[in-house]
Symmetry: C2
Subunit: 556 residues, 2 copies
């Protein structure tokens, strides 16, 4: 037995939704498990993305040996450019996960320097005192793994995100056997995904969406437009296979959709039958009953491809009466309103919206429900258990779910929040010190521009550039803005009343309103985003600064 | 056949969620069907409630004969004080519905003047050219009715909100027979509830929640705290009955919960077994395993009883380790985040949260799903159909659902949005002119104060008082606000930089931050609401004005 202690240091994702990141430390060796981002909600207006505060890792930079990634979802890899710009340590992940990391790094011209190491499920790697085995799990994204980390004090299992799909579309089964084996030999600590702990029973297999798609394909008389997550390769594969069978061509629409499918195809993870693809620019000239469009932008994000399509603002695809628009994705909490507005725009164009709960379903979750969580707990039967990936109440529920294991060796369960460490040594496990954590808001420039690596480095604390609040009062009768919009600013970028920049900025906002349709002006979320994008571009050019921009729109 | 035309004039609730209101006009006679409010979402910060713009009714005041109410939910009666302050016409509704209207009118000291007429299902009343029959329907609130309105041109059926519950808890069945009879004789126009059109199958009976409550009551070792809608009398009855059976006393907590149960009890709609009730002030002294608390505030509204309980800020109830908190209500879209935060506060206190989807369910909807909507369509088989109560895409879906009736006499379906009238005359039905509609934002003062009738009358257009934006930058490391918060204002209430009022207002905001706990300061939605409430009270007192107040909170 070692006399050193093992520390579990949650840096994000415990007690909050997204930006999953955790450090595991044994003595003077640290490995980082995932480095995700969080999409800001409407209460964090003016911010593009949110990443964990990496202060703890910065302070201990010399001890950080590697970053290990479980899968390629943004809430697990989205902060990689920012973390790697702080410390260029080796990264380990499956080929698909790393390809998605490369795509992110490309945006910041950081790909060449990165030390990316491809691993396969079943493979084991040695990093200092840690022996890490990658275990295949089923999830909505392909090439997902859990981690079994053998330390001098015992085995730590980190599930990543998972469901236990008995019939995955690629027929690569969840690796129950390896979990069972570790469970048999004894596991010190289990860290397990809590996302769907409030759902009873079993999450349905990914295959269960097929009958619904068949029903839609059988009855649709014109274009079928499917909004899906670009990383849902299993889902896209099913759509491709069905389209080929039904004699429809498939166009991928949206930047992330195009790049994700290209990556998956190149890695042999997405099989695209010959002559099946249709270029986006050919959509409108092909016979409508022979076309399927798979479009990114499931959350009503105002600048996404699907949102643009919904308001006739996309160059390749225009909705027409009789089209069917399918929402094959979950609704991330907080996005309901925006998604509803997108559906309304679609319906006003005479297209049918297929969305919501139905049986067979049009979407299934990638996270395990209660009985899958129970199955995993029973396979692993750890000595200590820490629920991860969830809000506090969900992790509490997961902790409660595990209580039946008390008769099977479970000694203690800890509900930790981001920043609250756990210490395990020869005497057992207990809560340790708290470390600095938090949310770092980043204006990624992801909308139109490429942000340089240096800018990220220099300006992690955006607030240093201050904030700008454009205030627009729209007359609800005329739909127009009376006079020039007002702008309030504070901080580094201080727009003086009556200054040239200020006047020009007000004109930029006024112009955004002018060029928007009445339908767009009635959509507050969309207008906020348009004003923000235009004003950001203007201020970036004229002041070289990127303040937080939070439009306030009033109907008067 | 008459030579006059029948006009259907939607004033709210078609293409938007809430504030349901419709006028029916034949010649120079108008009846108003429902007058509801809408709870503003986070995009309409600074507003308490939203009502329809009643301009059309004001312009035609001399023709308005009556207001007919289908049921007592706020989205159907919440605008009654505002409408009655414009025109004091006779009101018709069931006793429970009118009692809830009286409660609203009491807040504005308007009860005495109101002309409220109690009606029973099966009863018919004559109003000008309209003969109105009230038909019993099942819904989450008791005493709900649909309306069959015989006009010289034919029968119009307005469903109100409904589900078709085959086993209602009060055993008063949905009146299928009357719908069938009208259907047999011929219905000119059907207006039917679209809320749940995106759900397949049948909404489960209200009774199906009982097994879940039994499971919770059987295992709970301490207090059971149930958050429910105060108007869900069926639900409350089931809780009371079960509590009596299980030997627990019941405390109603929250103003609206106390008044709604008192009203229902007085009308004989809620049976409260003897010696079952516990006064709120006695909760903490009674044995925890003998207590059930039924609390209002299901949507995470920061000032509601349940939200206060969740942060130990309620005078009668404090959560303790081992308590079970049950969320027996739907989540209104847009409230997910706030409700999640409330659950987190609850879980941090060691109480278990029971919420989400499960089987048996902890909540069932009061609105019919697709097969119930189909059943109603088939019973009524109207000549014309207009879906009501839903967003545009939901009404479109409902229109599509009705298309199978084309073989059974359905001539046309119209998807109307609020403001778009429908005209029916001897030649048939067609879209008519558009009338003035919109949202009127009202600062009701409902949080702490009673607003005088005159204030409502004078100040329907709140924007005349301008708006005030307090800007608070909270240091994310210290959790403190640096210096005094800033305040930006425009419009009538113009706070001059450096003026006494301005300085005092900034101090009010600073004080709100000071007296809040760290947990509260981390909850942006809660802090916005607290700042708004305090600043409103201050400005109302010092300036006699009630501007829109929209706090902006930045983490820096």
């Amino acid at each position: 037995m070692s006399d050193k202690k093992l520390q579990v240091i949650p840096l994000g994702g415990l007690g909050e939704f997204g930006m999953n990141c955790m450090a595991l430390r044994y003595g003077d060796d640290i490995i980082v498990l995932d480095a995700g981002m969080m999409f800001p909600d409407s209460e964090l207006l003016g911010v593009d993305i949110v990443t964990p505060d990496f202060s703890y890792l910065e302070e201990n930079e010399q001890f950080v040996r590697a970053i290990i990634l479980t899968h390629g979802h943004e809430d697990h890899i989205g902060a990689m450019p920012f973390l790697l710009s702080l410390m260029n340590v080796p990264v380990y992940g499956t080929p698909f996960t790393l390809a998605l990391v490369e795509r992110r790094l490309d945006e910041h011209e950081m790909r060449e320097d990165a030390k990316l190491n491809r691993v396969k499920p079943g493979q084991k790697i040695d990093i200092g005192p840690f022996l890490i085995e990658f275990i295949h799990v089923t999830h909505s994204i392909v090439s997902s793994v859990a981690l079994a980390i053998t330390t001098p004090l015992g085995v730590v299992i980190h599930t990543g995100d998972f469901k236990i799909d008995p019939t995955p579309t690629d027929n690569i089964l969840f690796d129950l056997h390896t979990f069972a084996e570790y469970g048999k030999r004894g596991v010190l600590l289990l860290l397990s995904d809590s996302t769907n702990v409030d759902r009873a029973g079993y999450t349905p297999s990914e295959r269960t969406v097929m009958p619904r798609f068949e029903e839609i394909f059988n009855r649709a008389e014109r274009r079928i437009v499917i909004a899906a997550f670009s990383s849902s390769i299993h889902r896209l594969q099913q759509i491709l296979t069905l389209s080929a069978r039904m004699g429809r061509k498939v166009a991928f629409v949206g930047r992330s959709m195009l790049s994700a499918t290209e990556i998956a195809h190149n890695l042999g993870l997405l099989h695209i039958p010959d002559n099946l693809l249709l270029r986006p620019q050919d959509i409108m000239s092909a016979p409508p009953h022979k076309v399927v469009c798979v479009v990114s932008g499931t959350q009503g994000e105002p600048m996404s491809a699907m949102s643009r399509v919904a308001v006739d603002n996309h160059k390749s695809l225009r909705l027409e009466r009789g089209d069917v628009v399918v929402h094959s994705a979950r609704i991330i909490p907080g996005n309901e309103k925006g998604i509803g507005r997108m559906f309304n725009h679609v319906a006003r164009r005479g297209a049918e919206v297929v969305a919501g709960t139905m049986s067979p379903p049009i979407h299934v979750s990638g996270h395990g429900a209660q009985e899958e969580l129970n199955l995993l707990l029973n396979l692993v039967r750890p000595k200590y258990f820490v629920p991860i990936h969830g809000e506090y109440w969900q992790m509490s529920k997961h902790a409660r779910l595990a209580s039946h294991l008390k008769d099977h060796g479970l000694e203690d369960t800890f509900v930790l929040e981001t920043g609250q460490t756990l210490v395990i040594d020869a005497k057992g496990a207990r809560k340790g010190e708290k470390v600095t954590v938090g949310r770092v808001c980043i204006d990624s420039g992801s909308l139109d521009e490429v942000v340089e690596d240096m800018m990220i480095r220099d300006r992690r604390h955006l607030s240093e550039d201050g904030f700008v609040i454009p205030i627009v009062a729209i007359d609800k009768n005329t739909g127009k803005c009376e006079g020039l919009p007002e702008i309030v600013s504070r901080g580094f970028v201080k727009l003086e009343e009556g200054s040239e920049v200020m006047t020009a900025a007000r004109q930029v906002v006024a112009r955004t309103l002018e060029v928007s349709s009445k339908e767009e002006r009635g959509d507050l979320g969309l207008m906020q985003e348009k004003i923000r994008a235009d004003l950001k571009r203007f201020l970036s050019k004229s002041t070289s600064r990127r303040p937080l921009i939070m439009p306030v729109i009033l109907e008067v």
